[in-house]
Amino acid sequence: MLILKTLALEPMHGYGVALRIEQVSQGVFRVNPGSLLPALARMERAGHVKCEWRTSENNRRAKYYMLTARGRKALVTESETWSRQVSAISRIMEA
């Protein structure tokens, strides 16, 4: 879900996603390539992201991932599920 959200802002390559997640979560989530890249491959097979080869900032050939319409829908569903879970947990914790 975090990957989907990150890609929702703009298409980026693998390391960009890892960097963004680490930055925005202020170091709480540190994703390493061993889990990020397989997750991206799975999402590509599920049809949530699609990829293309572009030149990156330092003029290298890099694989860029972008969100598809399906991915956007998946993101919406997953964030709804997440907020339901969060409100349930907070209700329990406050009770």
Binding site: H13, G14, Y15, G16, A18, L19, N32, P33, G34, S35, L37, P38, A39, A41, R42, E44, R45, A46, G47, S56, N58, R60, R61, A62, K63
Partner: protein
Amino acid sequence: MGLPGNIAQGIRSFFRRQALERDLDDELRDFIDASTAEKVRRGMPVDQAAHAARVEMGSANAVKHHIRSATWESKMEIFLRDLKHCVRGLLRSPGFTLIAVLSLALGIGANTAIFTLIKQVLLQNLPVRNPQQLVTFGKSTDGGILGGIDLGTADMFTYDFARQLETNPGPFQGVAAYTSLAPRVSVRVSNSAAALQIPANPVSGNFFHVLGAAPLLGRTIAPFDAATPHSNAVAVVSYHFWQQSLSSDPAAIGKTISINGKPFTVIGVMPAAFHGITQELNPPEIWVPITMVQEILLQPGFLEPRSYYFLHMVARRSPQSTPGADQAWLNRQIRDYVRAGEGASIAPARQQEIEHIAVRLVSAAHGVSQLRSRYGDSLKILMAIVAVVLLIACANLANFLLARAIARQREVATRLALGSSRARIIRQCLMEALILSLSGGVFGLGLAFAATRTLIAFVAQGTTNTPLDARPDSAMLWFTLAVSVLAGLLFGLAPALQVSRSSAMPTLNAGARTATGSGARTNRWWPKALVTVQIMFCLLLLVGAGLFLRTLRNLEDQDYGFERAHLLIATFAPELAGYKPEQVPSLNQRLIERLSAIPGVRSAALSETPPISSGAWTSSISLSGYTPAPKENMLSVLNRVSGHYFETAGIPIVAGRAIAPSDSANSMKVAVINETIARRFFPKGDAIGHTLKINIDSVEGPWQIVGIARDTRAGDPRENPERMVYVPLAQVIGKHGEGIQDSFASTILLRTAGDPASAIGELRGAVASIDPNLPILQVRTMQDQLETLMSQETLVSRLTAIFAALAVLLAAIGLYGVMSFNVVRRSNEIGIRIALGATGSGVQWMVLRESLALLGAGLALGIPIALAAAGLIRAQLYQMSPFDPVIFIGATAGIAAVTVLSAWFPARRAATFDPMTSLRCE
């Protein structure tokens, strides 16, 4: 992308493997570069940054592996790689693979062949709507025409009763009737001159409607077709007839064919799978309305009320009513009918009798089948036998695969230590087993196809139109697949369990020179148990084969009461050629004269039924000098025979004289009875001289008894001989000496000097020279006829013998393999024993002792089971006890011999072990 896109991507990646690999490398390298750049931007020194980035990622190969295993094609790749590995492993031991696949092919093929037959003979539903609602009144397997009986006897009914129930079916949806025999009729199609003799079946108007059978072309017989007697000459033909005689002409509807000389219009063609309600060899091919029955049976009077009992009945039950209510209603209808025919007052004893009349409703979902009653039990026995053979083959394979698994213990331990999942290794074991069983299944399918054709050809015995089909259908394929998979799982179980129990730590004492060093004790248990089970099954099969072969021999040696060699029998039908009863006596005379003149024929005779057949001409008789007890059965089978019948058939006369040519129309009416009648009614032996009367008006008598003939055995030699009364053919005439309906003779007998088969052509020629239109329905030597009667026993005994031999061979191979493997495994131990002073013969005895122990255990289990099984098949045997000691001892000796022989060679090899070599090599 969804599922199809996923699959497409996966398939595409198969072909672009190298490019994808490069892409993956690029991506990882790029990741590391970007990570390094970021770290440098944050202030780390360059080389430290690079190192940190690489450490963060971990092993590039591991990451690549993770990425690849996120997709489905990696699993497929693993599967395919395992498959290749297994296949290569199997191909590396070609001998083992060949024997395994062959034995499985034989086992699975045999199972499929028998299953196909069972499905067609026992299980197949009629090709009609809702067949499970159909019931017949009684079993309806016997056909014929009876008179003077109570309604419902032998499941036969009269025309007016059938009509009554047709209009008022009571709780049934509909009640229909059909003639119990489908006689051959002479059929001529318009533009061909030759006449064919084809079985035809008159049926009631609602027959097709009640059955729920839809036609392929045109329409079926409807109630209005059967409204008026002797009109509406319409016919519905079978697919086979339409194909053969009408050349599959789509415009065949409306054409006219001539049946027994009368024109009939074809109104419909039935689909290929429809054979009426009966399933038998030579099913009816033409259906006509019941009102045309006289034209088909060539005899009048069937449609008169309470005249002849000749119809079987079938009904379709309604889902709302219960079987009990239906049964009760039917019994009531029958009893009311009988009571109505008795007249005003009925004696109380007779009332009681009538109250007990009942005709059972029998489910007809599978049709009425003589094939089923004939072969049903044999097929079930054969199914059990082929299942046992397959189990023996599976036990062999389980042993073999177990041996391989044990030999590969080191390999398995190494793989486990290197990180392979145990599940994958077990999967590979099962895969190996399934590869073997599925290849066995594929070959078995081909074998089954050939075997099914042979079996059906045997069962059909030369008839061209049988309802049995040898073509493979989906049920056959599914069955083969299921049996292959089950067999594979069955024998793959043992080695898989073995692997699951093995440990990653290589067995510490694998190389140790102790008795337990070569594998745990539990490893020895499986092979022993399997071999014991194999021996038990083999004993069962050998006993079965012995019993059936003995039965067949007993049947073949049976004395049927007449001379069976050099006898030719032909069936002919003058009524189909249009002969009237008045013309028959002269025809018979001419035939006898012409047939006797054939060179090579010692004598010729005519009769109504041949000596082996039980005959349908029956009646009660009354004998002078004998008063029957009340309710005593005075029925006897009758036969009308020409002058030289007894010497032609070779039936000895035990007292008095035979019927001679001098017994002509003008001389005294004489009769010959058989021993059964003489013993029963004239125990003092004074039968000759008494007279007898027959309860059929046309041949009432009185007939003077002039001779007693030896009993002949009818079709089923298991039954007691029937009572027979022989009267001269020439004396079956009307009041003024003219021929009557009963003057027809249908059988020609020829006793030849040489081989009877060589006289067939001459016979046909002789008949044709008298009348070329006289149809000969069948010509056979008596030997062939008897062989067809024993076809069921021949089939079962031959197949059982073949399967028993196969099973013994498989068990011998299995035992040999197990013993060899044990000896090889224990080579260290044996080497030590020999080095310590054991003699060669001592070692040999040690190995043999093991196999004898298995033999003993197998026999201990097998003999009680064989005794129980023999008791079960008592009904199949003939003139012998199922516990025949000779057969049991023979089977035991056979198994023991095979066991000792198979164990001999490995034992011999063990005795010749050189301790130096066996202890040195590891």
